[in-house]
C-alpha cells in the first residue's frame, strides 16, 4: 500500500546519506513502468539511488529491465544503485532472469 502511494510521490524522500529513495509499488509490472521510469528520471541527477522493494508483491521482466538500465546509466554518471528492504519476490525473479549481479542485489534476503 505504502509503496503504491510512494510511486506517485512527486518529491522522493531522501535517505539519511542524501541518496534518493524510490519505493517500488506492490504490483510493479508493465502497466506502472512508465510512471516508475518518470519517477526514476527525476531522481537520476541525485547521484545515488536507493530502491526500496519492501512492498513488492509482483514484478516482471519489464521492471527488472528498467532497473538494470537505470543502474547502467547511474554508474555511467558515477552514481550507484543500492537496495533497501529487498524480498523473496524480487530475489526469485532476479535469480531466474540471471539479473542479480546486474542489479547489484545483496546476496542474502535480509530486510
Amino acid at each position: 500500500m505504502g509503496g503504491k502511494r510512494a510511486a506517485k510521490n512527486k518529491q522522493p524522500p531522501a535517505a539519511a546519506d542524501g541518496a534518493a529513495v524510490v519505493c517500488l509499488p506492490a504490483d510493479c509490472r508493465l502497466a506502472v513502468q512508465m510512471a516508475l521510469k518518470e519517477q526514476l528520471q527525476q531522481v537520476l541527477q541525485h547521484g545515488d539511488i536507493v530502491i526500496d522493494a519492501q512492498a513488492l508483491e509482483r514484478v516482471d521482466t519489464a521492471a527488472l529491465q528498467l532497473l538494470v538500465l537505470l543502474r547502467r546509466e547511474l554508474e555511467h554518471n558515477g552514481g550507484a544503485l543500492a537496495w533497501r528492504g529487498t524480498n523473496e519476490v524480487l530475489h526469485e525473479a532476479a535469480a531466474l532472469l540471471g539479473l542479480e549481479q546486474s542489479l547489484n542485489l545483496p546476496t542474502a534476503t535480509s530486510a
Binding site: 512508465m34 516508475l36 521510469k37 526514476l40 516482471d60 538494470v68 546509466e73 525473479a93 535469480a95 540471471g98
Partner: protein, 679 residues
Amino acid sequence: MGAVDLTQFHKTFFEESLEGLDAMEAALLALDSGSTDHELVHTIFRAAHSIKGGAATFGFAEVAAFTHVAESLLEEVRSERRGVDGELIDLLLRSVDCLRAMLDHTSHGLPAADADSEALRGELVRLVSGEAAPAPAAATPAAASVDGWAIRFVALPHLLQTGNDPLRLFRELQQLGQLDVCRAFVVDAAPTQLAELDPGQCWLGWELRLHGAVARADVAAVFDWVEGDCELTIEPIAAASVAPVAPVAVAPTLVAPPVAAPAAPVASPAPASAPRPVRETAAASSEGSSIRVGIDKVDALINMMGELVITQSMLSDIGEHFHLSQLERLREGLLQLERNTRELQESVMRIRMLPIGSVFNRFPRLVRDLERKLGKQVKLELHGEHTELDKTVLEKIGDPLVHLVRNAIDHGLESPEQRRAAGKNETGTLRLDAYHEGGNIVVQISDDGAGLNRAAIVAKAEQRGLIRPGQEVDDAEVAELIFQPGFSTAAQATDLSGRGVGMDVVRRNVRDLGGSVGVRSQSGKGSVFTIALPLTLAIIDGLVTAVGEERYIVPLISIVESLRLRPEMVRKIAGGGEVFHFRNEYLPIMRLHRAFGCNAAITEIERGIVVVVEEEGRRVGLLVDDLLGQQQAVVKSLEAHYQRVQGISGATILSDGSVALIVDVCGVVRLGQRGKAAA
C-alpha cells in the same frame, strides 16, 4: 492463479488422454505393420505431448514424469535419430497400457505409479539416456548422466507487448529440468539513457542451460508463443561439457532452493508420490458419464426445435379464435406437430448414437498380442466402423466382441503349419463387419479357420448329458450347443479362453441388450458369428395385448407367431400343464393372467389368443385375451420407480395415458418352467 478450480477439468483431461492413448496405440500398430508414414510418428508424439502437458497442469506428477520420458524417446524417433523396430513398438505399446492404468488409478484418486510403471519408466529412461549419452553410471541413470540444452534467447523489443514475459518462460523451463542462467545481457541496440527508453520494450538477452532428460520439443514448446518475437537457438549440450558447467553470472547459493527443486519429478524415481494437490478425484469420477456430440447433431436439434416452436405458435393462434371453418388448418397443424415430434425424437436419439469404430479400434492391438502369444498369423479386416450404435449398447457390446474375437483366433484359426497342410494361406483372416439391417445393427465376426469342431462338440454334449448318446443332431443344433452354460471344448484351458466364461455369457450379455447371437459354420472353411442388436434400448417395438383389464406389451423381436387355438389342439399333461401342437413340437402354454394375477381375463384357451414367443431357443405360447396393435414403446425402468418384478422388464405409457407393462419374455419363460417344476 490458485483461484481457478482445476478439478472441473479433470474429467475432460482423463477422457481426452484416453482418446489420445487410443490414437497412440492405433498409430503404433500401423507403424508396426510396416507403414512408414511420418505423420503417424507425429500423431503418437502429439498424443504423448498433450497428455504430459495436461498431467503437469493438473498436478499428476507421476503421469507427467512417465509421459515425459516416453516423449523424449518419441522425440528421438521424430527427429529420426532413432529407428523404429518391433522392440521399440513393444515398449511403447506397453507404455500405453501402463499410462492407461496410471490414468485409471489417478482418476480414482489412487497413487498412479507402482512398481511396474516405475520399472517401465526405468526402461524408457535407460533407452533414452543410453543413446543420447554414453551413460557413465548405471546406478543413477536418470539425473547425472543425461545431457541438456544450451538455449540462447534474445527478446525482440516488442516481446513484452505480446503479453509474454521471459520470467514466465523461464519458470516453465524450470519445470522441465534444472535451469542455469549462464549470462543475461542487455543488447547493444538498447537505449543508453532512461529518457529514451520505452519501458514496454525489451532489450534483454539470455544464455541458458537446461539440464535433464528433456526432449528438444519440450524446450521448443515453451517458446511456442514467442516465435517471431525473439531470436532463439536451442542446441544440445555435448555430454562431455556437462560436468564443468557452473552458472557464470548467477550466485548459486541464492538461487539454489527455487531452481533445483522442480527438477525432482524428472530426476528422482518418485514412488514416494508428491502430495496430491487435489483430493476430490474419487468423488468426481463417480459422476454420470458424459457424451461427446458432433456439432451437426446439435444443430439438427436446434433446427427441429425451431420448427416445433413455429408449429406451436401456429396452433395456439388457431386456438385463440377458433372457428369451425378452421378445422382443416387445425388438422394440418396437428399433422405437422406430429411430424416435428417424430423428427425431434429421432434427432434426440441420434445424440446417443456413436460409431462402433470406437469398439473396433481395440481389436488391432488385441489381435497383434494374440498372434504373438499363439504363434498364429492373422490379418484383421474391419468394415463398417462408422455404423452408429446407442452409447449404452456400445459400452456393453465390447466384452462379448472381445470374447468372440479371442475365440476366433484361439479356436477358429489354425496354426500356420496346419493351414499350409490344409492348402490355405498361412495367414488367417478375421473380419469384423457392422451394418444396418432392418431396425437392427448387425455385427459379424467371421474367420476362415477350421470351423466348429462338430465331433468334439457332440462328444462333449453327450458327456455333459445335453444330448443322448447317438442322437442325431443337425448343424444348427450343434451350433446351438456351444451357447449352453459351461460348455467348452478346449482340451486345455489357455489363458485366453477356458476361463469359465463361455459362449453362454456372450449370449446372455447380448440378450441383456435386447439382441441375439448365432453362429454359422462350415467345416474347414470357417465360422461366422452374427450379433443382431437393437438400435437403441430406449425404445422397443412391441405388440400391445389385452389381459383382463390390463395391457401388456410383448417385444416384437421375441414373437414367432400369434394364433387362435381350437380346443382339440390343446393337451393336458400330467402335473396340470397344458401344451399345444405347433410345427412338429409341443409347446407349453403360459396363461399370462395367471402368471400376473389379472382379474376378469379370458380363461378358455379357445376364446383367447396364443402368442408364440421364443427366447434362449425355447418357445412357449402366451395366452392373452386379445391383440390390440403394434406400437413403439418408450421403455421406462420399473426398477427406478418401483422395484424389479419377475417377468416384467419395464413399463411404458400408452397413448391414452394408461400404463402398460412390458413382458420380459425370458423371465416369463423361466417363470413358466418353475411353475411346471413345482406342479
